[in-house]
């Protein structure tokens, strides 16, 4: 426990069930001071529940939570610390601004805790509180909207106010629960940058949860991939992308081909793409059978019959401006995504060869939830659909 003193927030073996359904399963998560961690996971994996446990709105069934080195939930406490005593700022998916207060009043809401209840109830924010609230509004670029009502703001502005409100009392940690999910795409892009800048300007520690991989990767210092109530892997975006810890993470993050393989001598594996050399055989593979993973940019499209290529037929071509993604069926139902130059014209049905040019990684064989090729985007869309 003592080692957590260094962390702003530390969850140990956190478990939580709603009735019979386990939602968090012995989850571990530590966040350094000033760090921005994005939790990436499909809808329903327990992201919101985790944040609500940290904020104190839910109480974990087992495990402990420390915030700023102080245990707020878990063994050794008679009862969990109340939400208001945890110094945690929260930004919800819907901005959840107080409709009866002005923008300034919203931001100043958490600044009046020094005063008595009656005074908080009937008197508006004091001078110092107003100054601090204005400072925060400045930070999120809304100083000119201070006297508006929340109803008169656009969705993006509302979220920025929500962030300013959460940051104003200088919380130990800020929790953001899919703060951009309700916004349109272009707004989302600018807001990501602005929110990150604001958090960094304050030196705030933050956990942001999202089901959007781009969001997680562009904003985070570290990304935690959350699956089925666990953190499957937590690391820098680069490491997550290049070294997915297991098949679930591999299929969750980015695109790529995940293939069954058998280990051979000399650092080689045998898979649907032929006999190729692969990293990480020792650590991830027990026995002969394992999985290998290769990114689309690690593959090259060759004309049919080229040496060192595996033959296949193009089944789909997606144009993405700076590249084309060609999906090739190499038999056995394995559809392999290959990234090619946007100027390369291929049509569906063409017979081609696929060659491995980049790294192939052996990943721990946890059964992926869906067929061989999974795109994070499609997962995200499915997730949005069932909300």
């Amino acid at each position: 426990m003592t080692e957590c003193k260094a962390h702003a927030i530390c969850c140990r073996s956190l478990s939580k069930s709603f009735g019979e359904t386990p939602v968090l399963r012995s989850l571990n998560l530590c966040v350094d001071r000033g760090e921005l961690v994005c939790l990436l996971g499909p809808s329903g994996c327990g992201k919101t529940t985790l944040l609500r446990c940290i904020a104190g709105f839910e109480h974990p069934g087992a495990g402990s939570i420390q915030i700023g080195g102080k245990t707020v939930a878990g063994a050794g406490l008679a009862s969990p610390v109340a939400p208001e005593a945890r110094r945690v700022g929260v930004v919800f998916q819907e901005a959840a601004l107080f409709p009866h207060l002005s923008v300034l009043g919203n931001v100043a809401f958490g600044l009046s805790q020094g005063r008595g209840l009656l005074s908080r109830l009937v008197r508006g924010p004091g001078r110092a509180e107003r100054a601090r609230a204005r400072e925060m509004l400045d930070l999120v670029g809304l100083a000119d909207k201070a006297d508006r009502r929340p109803g008169e703001l656009s969705g993006g502005e509302q979220q920025r106010v929500a962030l300013a409100r959460a940051l104003a009392p200088e919380p130990e940690v800020v929790l953001l629960d899919e703060p951009f999910a309700n916004l349109d795409r272009s707004l989302r892009l600018t807001l990501r940058r602005e929110v990150r800048d604001a958090l960094k300007a304050c030196g705030a520690t933050a956990i942001l949860v999202t089901h959007d991989q781009d969001e997680a990767f562009t904003m985070a210092d570290r990304v935690g991939v959350m699956l089925h109530g666990e953190i499957a892997q937590i690391d820098t975006p680069e490491r997550i992308y290049e070294h997915p810890a297991d098949t679930r993470v591999a299929s969750m993050v980015g695109r790529g081909a995940l293939l069954d393989a058998s280990v051979e001598d000399g650092g080689l594996v045998c898979c649907g793409l032929g006999r190729v050399s692969a990293d990480g055989i020792g650590e991830a593979c027990a026995g002969a059978g394992c999985s290998v993973f290769v990114r689309p940019e690690g593959l090259r499209l060759n004309p049919e019959g080229c040496p060192r290529s595996v033959a296949g037929r193009v089944v789909r071509v997606e144009y993405a401006g700076d590249h084309r993604l060609v999906t090739v069926d190499i038999g056995n139902g394995a559809a392999i995504p290959v990234k090619v130059d946007p100027n390369l014209r291929v049509s569906v049905g063409t017979e081609v060869g696929v060659e491995v040019v980049g790294p192939v990684r052996v990943v721990r064989g946890v059964k992926p939830p869906s067929p061989v090729t999974v795109s994070a985007k499609r997962t995200a869309e499915a997730g949005r659909g069932d909300r």
Binding site: R52, A55, G56, F57, A82, P83, E84, A85, R86, R87, V88, G89, V90, F92, E94, A96, L97, F98, P99, H100, L101, F109, G110, Q113, L117, R120, L121, R149, P150, G151, E152, A162, R165, A166, P169, P171
Partner: protein, 532 residues
Amino acid sequence: MDTGGAAVLRTGESGRFLPERTRRAPVALVIGGSVVGVLAALPVVYLLVRAFEAGGGELFETLRRPGLLVLVLRTAALAGVVAGASVAIAFALAVLTAATDLPMRRLSSVVSVLPLAVPCYVGASAVVGLSGPGGVFEGMGAVRGFWAAAIVLTLFIFPLAYLPLRASISRVDPRLIDAARSLGESGLGATLRVILAWSWPACVGGGVLVGLYTLGEFGAVTMLRCDTLTAVIYEQYRSSFSRTGAAVSSLLLVVLVLACLGVGGLLRRRGSWSSGRGSSRGGVTLKLGAWRWPAFALVMLIGAGPVLLVVLTLLSWLGYEGGAGGVGGGLWSGAATSASVAIAAGVACVLMTAPAAVLAARYPGRVSGLVERAVSTGFALPGIVVALGLAFFALRATPFAYQTWGLVVAAFVVLFAAQSLMALRASLERSPVRLEEAARTLGRGPVGAFVGVTLPGLAPGIGAAWVLVTLSAMKELPAMLLLSPAGSVSLAELVWSSTREAMFASAAAPGLALIGVSAGLVWLVAMREGLT
């Protein structure tokens, strides 16, 4: 004042779907909506006729009456205290029953509305009986005066404020509470700073309704010997027979009504807010922890305690000599008459206020403001004034309608349209105007959109409006006594004539019957409001 008073009886989330002010209301709607306003304004016209017929002399004589200022102030103070206390109690109960993990929330919700089943005058006569010689509270001395009246009125009419408050609080977005708590507010602080602010329009609307009711309340205040303007109006009818003095006092009461609406408008504007999405999912659930059962006991005590006390008192009177007899067969025909007239009044009220509600919710403006003020005045005027006013006009304009139940129903519409208007309007405001616009874009004409979309928007309020009016009409006394066809019997009259002669025993049976029938209606209110 013009816009201030206009929107006070609203209890929904005010500007959620701000209708465009520029839209012109259809003429048919304006006319339909004005009918109830004109009807409700008749008593005021009558008062003006009576006040000025004797020339200015008697008018000034009445206005110079010693103690008049004290009287007006006392009346205003009583209305203010009862409104404030009712809103406080109603708020506490609404939070407990709609936004916490209170045990048996449904039961608690119904119990919170139960006091509506007891007419104030029955409650007051029980209290007077209990505190008199031989009563349970004999040692406590006579329960009389301003504070006694304030307490009794509060205990029996706070549900008027509870109903809109509960509807509003059950729609508070739980995330707002979470946000407040993460910003360092305790449970109590969040309740007050967020839920109170959220439901502020409903607080003001409910408070105004209770205040108006108190202004017009007669039975309980006279029994508890707290002289208010209404009590004095009766006194003047009794003493002068010239009706001018009473008319002048009644006009003063109208001024108090407008003041009450004005204050409501000011309070409302202070805390108004223009947007906020109600929660469509489950609302807030605050954890009471160790306070769950004490809180439950408190709800039971406030909701069921006074009702139980009254019922037990009446039951004990039933045991006295002549208790069950006295009234005999009159009880059944009285109950049937009261119930059916009240039911008809409820239907008439809903039908007549529906266009006014649409007008007020969709095309707020001068006309809807005037209608609302007229209707509020009707609610606060004493029954005798409304009855005499309608008699005055009926005898001159529609003599065939005099001495018919139609006129009684009309009087009930004047007296209780405010409740109906409030309920219908709140329900309209909860149904988005966008739907109507969507319907228009889907190719429906204005009439089609109205029938297909606006009317269903009224539906949730219709039950509440009907039941509230019916309940009030059941309990109403003077208009029933003066306007019902001679020879008819009503429960209220039976109770009244018994208590008047201090024959508490024979008041017991009709009193219990009245409470019984009303309790049935309260159950309907409760069901309607989704409490059960």
